[in-house]
Structure formats: C-alpha cells, structure tokens
C-alpha cells in the first residue's frame, strides 16, 4: 500500500505541535498589547473640538489658574466645563473679530452652549469625584498630564482600571502637598524621597489606604 503522507509531513506535524503553543502565546501577547494600546484606550490622542481651544496658550502662556474655568473642581465630583460666559469674560474685549472664535460668539448670541467633545470619559459604572482627589493632594497634572503644554486637549493616560489602582494601592507614590495641586510645573522629588514625602502626606491627609481598593469606592 502506498504511503498516505509524504515524509515532509513529519516536519509539519512537529511544527504544528510547537507552533501551536507559540501561536497561542503570541495571540495572547498581541491581545494584551492591543487592549492597552491607544487604539482602545485613546491614550495620547488629540480630539477635534468646535473651537480649537489651547490650554498651552491659556495655562502655559497666560498663567490662568485651572479653577478659573473649572470652577467646581474643589467642591463637586465634576470639575465643570466652563460656560460660554466664562470665555466671554475676556473674549468680549479680546480678539472680538477672530474667525476662530466665531462659534463662541454664536453660542453667546444664540444662547446655545458650545458642544465640546469630552476627552476624559470614564465608563458610567465608575463613580469618580474630583473634589476628594484635589482635597487629598492629587495634582491635576498627575492624571491629566502637562495640560500647559497641550495645544489641543489630549488624554494623557489610559484611564484603565489598572491605572487607577496603581495609585489607589500606593497613593504615596503620587500625592503632593495640597498647595501644589494646581501647579503644573511641580516636579515630584522622585525615588525614595517621594516615598518618604508621600508616606508623610498620606498620614497627614488621613488617606486610608485599606479603604481605597474597596470595590464600592468607585463602583457604587
């Protein structure tokens, strides 16, 4: 009886045994990478806005405080997107004819809010509160990055749960003195010094680490 298989199939058989394992490992590796890539998380991506508002110009250049526009950041879960009125405090006098600002004037005249595109959008099953983070010494830049260097708003981090937990499990790695919370240029001391400072601040601000990883803290 003739052979059914050519001798070369031996090689294929062996290759599929080991190849299957490698393929499986490779698929898992790629899946884990894709799941964390900006393609899924939007990390590092700029968003088109109705008005190309530049934080770089307003914060970095002019030195306007975060709270001038995001008024409720210290008192409420939501930092607050400024109303057109806030823009008009300056722009009713400055650049009154600039073409770029036409949507702002239109919004003002028609009494219709500007439809900004949300950049940092957490899932609805996550309860996030800005005020408590600000009150416990988490700097704006820790989560939002160097906003004073962003010509258009960009999502600085992945906003993945692992990213949240990185701080919730070890807040001493990130907390800073309260008076530096709105300081974009604040540089954490880094290394052992940050840990020492962080541990001191965690004590001082009564940050109860054992509660921070309770599911119900964020998923209510």
């Amino acid at each position: 009886m003739a052979q059914i298989f050519h001798p070369a199939t031996n090689v294929i058989a062996k290759a599929t045994i080991f190849g299957g394992l490698f393929l499986l490992a490779f698929v898992c590796y790629v899946a884990a990478g894709v799941e964390r890539s900006p393609w899924i998380t939007h990390e590092g991506m700029y968003r088109e806005q109705p008005v190309p508002f530049s934080h770089e110009h307003h914060v970095g250049g002019l030195g306007i405080d975060c709270r001038y526009c995001h008024t409720s950041v210290e008192t409420s879960p939501f930092a607050g997107i400024p109303a057109t009125k806030v823009c008009m405090t300056c722009h009713s006098r400055l650049w009154t004819n600039a073409a770029l600002l036409e949507p702002v004037r239109e919004s003002w005249n028609l009494n219709k809010p500007i439809a900004w595109t949300r950049v940092h959008d957490l899932p609805d099953y996550v309860y996030f509160n800005h005020s408590i983070h600000v009150a416990k010494g988490v700097g704006c830049a820790t989560c939002h990055g160097r906003v004073d260097r962003m010509p258009l708003m960009m999502q600085a981090h992945s906003l993945r749960m692992e990213w949240c937990l990185d701080c919730h499990r070890n807040p001493e790695k990130y907390v800073r003195p309260k008076e530096k919370v709105f300081d974009m240029a604040y540089e954490p001391p880094g290394g052992r010094e940050q840990t020492a400072l962080g541990e001191k601040l965690v004590q001082q601000y009564h940050i109860r680490k054992e509660q921070l990883t309770n599911c119900a803290v964020c998923h209510r």
Binding site: I4, F5, N10, A13, C28, A32, E35, R36, S158, R160, M161, E162, L165, D166
Partner: protein
Amino acid sequence: MTDQVIQPGHTFATVTDKIASIVLTRPIGRGWLVLVVITGFLTIMLSTAVGYLLAVGVGIWGVDVPVAWGFAIVNFVWWIGIGHAGTFISAFLLLLRQDWRTSINRFAEAMTLFAVACAGLFPLLHLGRPWFFYWLFPYPNTMKLWPQWRSPLVWDVFAVSTYATVSLIFWYVGLIPDLATLRDRSRHRVGRVVYGILAMGWRNSARHWHRYQMAYLLLAGLAAPLVVSVHSIVGMDFASAQLPGWHSTIFPPYFVAGAIFSGFAMVMTLAIPLRAVYGLKDFITARHLDNCAKLMLVTGLIVAYGYSSEIFLAWLSGNEFEWYMTTNRMGGAYGPAFWALILCNVVIPQSLWFKRVRVNPKTLWIVSLVINVGMWLERYVIVITSLHRDFLPSSWGMYYPTIWDWATFIGTLGFFLLCVLLFIRVLPAISIFEMRELVHETSLAPAPAAAEGGK
C-alpha cells in the same frame, strides 16, 4: 459463562473486525438516523435557548431571590457528576489492573467529555454576562484584578477546566493506536487522511509501545486524583456557604460517591442499548453489567449514608434553622421531590442485591434510569429546598422553573446523546488494542482460569 470479560473464541482479527466495522463498513441504520434527527432538533432547541439567554439575560430563567441557584446549578452538578464514572473507569480501574474496564472505558471516557461539555455550559450561562467568563482566570488584565481565591467558585473553574483538559488528553492518547488501525483499514482516501492525521504517525513499533504505555500510565496517575478532587470542590461550593442544608462537612465525600453512582448509572444507560444494537455482547458481557451494578450498589449505599448523616446531624446540632430546614425538606412544599429522591436513590437500588437484577440488561437498564432521575432530584432538593426558606421568614419564597429552564436542560440531554451517537459512528466505541491485549492474556491462560483473570 457470564463470568468472562470477553467471550471465548475471539482472535486478534475478529476483535478488530468487529469493533472497526461499526465505524468503517456498517451502513447507516434507520434507527440511528431517527435518533440523530431527534437529538439534532433538541440541540437546536438548546442553541435557541442559549441564544435567547445571551440576547435577553438570565431573567428568562426562574432564578430570583431567594432561590438564585436554580436549574443551572442543579444541571451543572448533575452533568459533572455523570462524567466521573468515565474517569473512575479509565484511571482508577486501570491503576488497579481491573481488566474488565477495557471494554467500557473508551465510551465511558467519551461520555465524560460530553457530560463535562454540558456541565460547563451551565455555570457559564449563569454568570449573567457569560462573555466575561475569562475574568475568572488569573491573567494580567487591564483591571489589575486577581480572582478571589477564597471563593470555591474560583476553585470550580480550575477543577472543571483541569478535568476537561486531562479527560480530553487521556481519551485522545488512548485513541491513538486505534486511530492508526482505522487509518490502515479505511477504504476511503478521506478516511485514511483524517484518521492518519489524528493517529500522529503511529507505526506500531516497539519503541512507540514502550513510550505509549508509560505516557498512558502517567496520565492515569494524573487523572486518578481528579475523580476525588473535582466533585469535592463542587461539594464545597455548597459546604462553604453558611446556609442550613449546604453547610455540612460531609458534602465533599458524599458528592464524590454520588458522582460515581450517577456516572455508572449513565454508563449502564448507554452501554446496554449499545451492546444490544451493535452486537457487542461478546465484549460487554454480563460480567460487566454485574460489576457496574455492584459499584452502583456500593456508591448508592454511601450516598444513603450521607442522607441519613445529614438528617442525624441536623437533629444532633440542636440548631433550630438546621432542623427546620430538614423538616421543611421532608414535609414542605418540595417534600414530594425529597421522597421521590429517596425512592430513586435509596429504595430502588436495593434491588441490585439480587444477581438476577444485576445481570438482566432490562432490569438493570431501568434501575440505571431511575438512579439518573434520582441523582438529578438529589441536586434539585439540595439547591432549591435549602435556598427557598433560610433564616429570615420575610425572605422566603418559591422557585418555579420557566420553559427556558426546561428547554436548556432537555437541550443538553439532546446534545449529549447527539455527541454519543456521532461518536459511535466515527470512532471505535471500544478500545481495539486493549481488547486484543485481553485476547492475548486470556488465550495464554488455561481456559477455566481465564474467567478468574480480573479478580
């Protein structure tokens, strides 16, 4: 006569012919076709029920507070228990050198695989969002979460997935020499190629056999502890809860005994029609029926001991909730289910004390069916009666399975039988090479002593 594990007069060739012909040459019978159509429809019903569940959610089932574990968990425990006989036969009895296992181990292992497939379906669907089932595994996820290792439900994931993997590998390794036989005997090119690929280049050389025996024994050694561990863990799903009726240390061992009890009942339920229809009475003899029936009797008695111990300890504890649960189980709304279970699992199996019942295929088949029903009822009673009335009378309630509960359960029965039917026609239902070994051993010994081979 009836004491033989293989009827006299068989040679290597007749054994091979007989078993391989079911796969290779036997035409498709009308009865088989009718059964495939019926079970195929039931499988379609199952996929409809599952599809609807995925679309709408577990609300289509009867589960609610307080009975949040309904049919899904009952069916899961029942199916996974059935699988245990396959592993018991193939691993335990192999290590104990019981030669009578040879003719039933192959399809018992196949039965294990199909039962585990049916079992695995239920907890997955019960998750609510089954597409996130992989959250139960410890892998570096973007949530930075690790499974809750103190939960027996996580142990379940590992127990069942290990069990499924080891059973599959064990079954496949056992098939390799037979696949080579089919490859060599197949008259169609497609058959030769497919069986050839599956046989993985088996050439029947002495070196192959040497390595093969070693691998098979090692796998049996790996599989043997699983017989005990898997259903113990399933038992702990209940025992580690605080609920009266579940919170009992006897659960793991008595669940294992119950699993083997129901598994052998299912083996007999399948084996008796199989040997009649395909003329395998020479290989699955009255000796096999007798041995399996004895095992059912023993495990049935252990299970009965479990029931009485539960009742006795509920009384001994003096705990009013335990005792209320016990009386409510026997005399409450689900009392008839309890007494039906006692009838099926304790009373009727006592008929197996009589040899006439054990070696008569018809009576044994009926007793096996009764035990299958009884073991399902046992899980029903454990799950439902314990949950429906716990500590607080304000949270008491009743459980009513919906049509979708029934469709899913009956659908898995259809799917299971469909798999068995297809298996019988595409793979050798009895291990050819092990039967040849048996012929070799029995023909070397003088004729009367052959009967004593397995003692």
